[in-house]
């Protein structure tokens, strides 16, 4: 195919805020850069969009290369394109977030050459980030805060079977505030997208809680309607 479009020296990349939940803390995956600029700084994982990749594919690829995970809920949320955001040239970047259940604790291995290592770091204690990545992260958190109030994305962070307390915990971490237990349960149950299982939590040294599962069928019917917290 002939390229007859005008041509500019701009680079288009994708950066990802990968939110992970291990049952206790909300974390994001950061990489420690191995190259200038910002060598030795922590940064959001990202990469140039490939010539034949869609944007979503590109984001999935970045995720996969870092975590070997597929089928993760990802969503683009904002493009950052300040002419000076990258010291070495014009780089426009599209930010994605992903929500990941950190089952067990397989640390992601660093792979590409530009990263020394990758690490899940709790959002309550993040290092200084390279480029404008702090801004990108801030906007990402803001976005999922808003999103979790209207769409049932919290499930993406939990294992298939979970307790209501765990679910509430996720909401509290993302929204950054405590919620009333009884009201939370009343409300979340009233949406009708939870399926109570005949199964109890195991391995806890106290009364075991009932496990629930997210009911995707019921959710599909309800889709479009907004929920709210």
């Amino acid at each position: 195919m002939e390229q007859i479009l005008p041509h500019l020296d701009s680079v288009f990349s994708i950066d990802c805020v990968l939110f992970g939940f291990d049952g206790k803390e909300l974390k994001i995956l950061l990489i420690e850069r191995n190259e200038e600029p910002f060598k030795d700084w922590w940064a959001l994982p990202g990469n140039i969009v490939g010539a034949d990749e869609s944007l979503d594919q590109s984001a999935s690829r970045i995720l996969y290369e870092l975590t070997s995970l597929r089928g993760i809920y990802m969503e683009q949320y904002y493009a950052f394109g300040d002419p000076n955001r990258h010291p070495q040239g014009r780089v426009i970047t599209l930010a994605y977030y992903a929500l990941i259940r950190l089952g067990g604790d397989k640390e992601p291995r660093p792979i590409s050459t530009y990263a020394k290592r990758a690490k899940w770091l709790p959002i309550t204690d993040l290092p200084k980030l390279a480029f404008d990545h702090q801004k990108i992260y801030d906007k990402g958190l803001e976005k999922i805060k808003r999103r979790i109030k209207h769409q049932p994305i919290a499930f993406e962070l939990l294992p298939e079977k979970f307790t209501l307390t765990q679910l509430q915990h996720v909401y509290e971490l993302i929204l950054g505030k405590k919620l009333d237990k009884r009201n939370f349960r009343k409300k979340i149950v009233s949406f009708g997208v939870l399926k109570e299982l005949d199964e109890k939590q195991k391995g806890v040294s106290y009364r075991a809680a009932t496990l629930y599962r997210f009911d995707k069928r019921k959710y599909a019917k309800l889709f479009g309607k907004e929920i709210s917290f």
Copy 2:
């Protein structure tokens, strides 16, 4: 500055859905293309992002070139980057919407060479659009539907002084449904961002309605809190 970043043949553009309200209808500004591909088709106005422009600046420039308007509320809402969305090469485009009060009826003049003409067309009767512009428009409308429920953006479409009926009309057009007059007024007034003026509508052949103004100060205090319809 040395360019040491990798280089790809991709083009980055911005497309705009300019929503306009003339007091009666909701319209968008379309241009009739003068060049292949899609010569003679209607399309969303758009352009390549300039080397030293921020994204917002670029969107504002596109708007300005078409309408001579400045200081208009614009917001980016989604990036479209399917590898095949442009028949002549890879073009990633970032979509913006704008909300514009169509005071009087100064038709925008077509300017750039790639457009035969530009025209405000009612959203109830849009032609087939070039490229994936229908998709871009659909997503834009969806976006402002959601946005108008939570943020007072409807004011951007109205003249500085407006009646409550006009305001309600805007909500109804965007949400695509009728609202109850008394409940609408109760609610919108309860937000406390309207200032009632000592002035009445003029030039109508029936009882003149009271004019209101949007109170930006009060809104600033309230910002962050969501409103809902």
